[in-house]
Symmetry: none
Subunit: 222 residues, 2 copies
Amino acid sequence: MKYLRLELRYPPALIHPIHRLVDESDAVERDVLLHGSLFDETADTFLFYVEGDVDVYADALRSVDRIREFEITRIDETGFYVFLTQRRDAVDEAMFGSLRRTGVVVVPPIDFRPDGVARLTVLGEQGPLREALAGLPDRIESEILRVGEYDWRQHLFDPGLTERQFDALAAAVDCGYYESPRTASVEEVAERIDAAPSTASEHLRKAESAMMTAFMELRDVA
Amino acid sequence: MKYLRLELRYPPALIHPIHRLVDESDAVERDVLLHGSLFDETADTFLFYVEGDVDVYADALRSVDRIREFEITRIDETGFYVFLTQRRDAVDEAMFGSLRRTGVVVVPPIDFRPDGVARLTVLGEQGPLREALAGLPDRIESEILRVGEYDWRQHLFDPGLTERQFDALAAAVDCGYYESPRTASVEEVAERIDAAPSTASEHLRKAESAMMTAFMELRDVA
DNA sequence: GCTCGGGCGTGAAGTACCTCCGCCTCGAAC
DNA sequence: GTTCGAGGCGGAGGTACTTCACGCCCGAGC
């Protein structure tokens, strides 16, 4: 199973009005589609993460006919979420027709950038992926940014524990060493992984070290 | 915007035949819905990650009427991906009817576990979430595993720490409490977050508890 | 073959940490 | 307004944990 990181370039006529905001207005800096789901046969529900001016964005939403209803939730000074329900149109159908087929899946987030560019990831086998790409509307240019083997486990949080460290951690969690208050001692963990208490303790501390530093790094990046 | 980590318990009659495999057969250990999308008005496409016996799983898929077509990709000895297209049925519609409304979004992965249990995450404001929960079919029990503010930037791995717990953890990592061996004591952490050593210690242990259990849960799901 | 580094393993000694208790604050729910 | 629960805070006491020094094994590299 491969993944494709794609860049789609919409011609000016096909750019979604909201997407156009990102391009033309300085008020909206980032527009990311986080999740989408079927609402009914003619419309879809989306969750966007946006950075920029809430009022400008809301005005834009109100001015677009296809958008039935929306709801905005602020996060902090710059960021907010937008829920919206949108009627499907011809462009969507053309896109869906190609990307919605057995063997191909679009993975959020979809990143809408200036100049009518959207970046997204698609999963599937080479054949179906090629077909899906070929089936895109002619006027939409596509460029492949990256290709690779897809392993969804790689997207998860990995602190890089050794096998024994993981064993110790698993045993510790399992037997209640990490309850609060603890319901198991290092000694019990040691028994479970068949090692001396001091050994188990070292594994646990190394595991903790790796976990916590990896976690803080993750938060810095995010 | 909140997120709910939910556990749904399907009564035996409503358990999906494939989900039943996880319960009854030793041949399939894990069944995780990674992505789903609309195929057409009556069916959906899904990507599953499965650990277990490919042949048993394939046979099961063939024996289920609702499943139109499928495609399997091996990863390694135990794991494989499954693409499939499935006709929607009454249970799906009932679920969708409640979960597919403005203001609520279901976020993959959905983890199918033994005993007809499925775990998933739902996003939205309190009101819509409550309504969605209330609107679930009566025969499906639901339990809320965790609640929190949703931030997609953190969504990848969220142990659900409180603010002070996070403060303590950040200070601890920063000043070397989680080095191996430790280069800072609880007391130093306490000073940094301006609290008594015992308070700092409690925060750290609670944080550790949350981190480790969340991590093991992630690995179970993953 | 030798060396070097990293991971794993262990016992002993000392203290740093965990637990428990009581109290306070805050927000949600009714 | 009131109740309830969860989170936060801190003091005192005892023990469970960390640390250290040392040794083994394995794989990589010259």
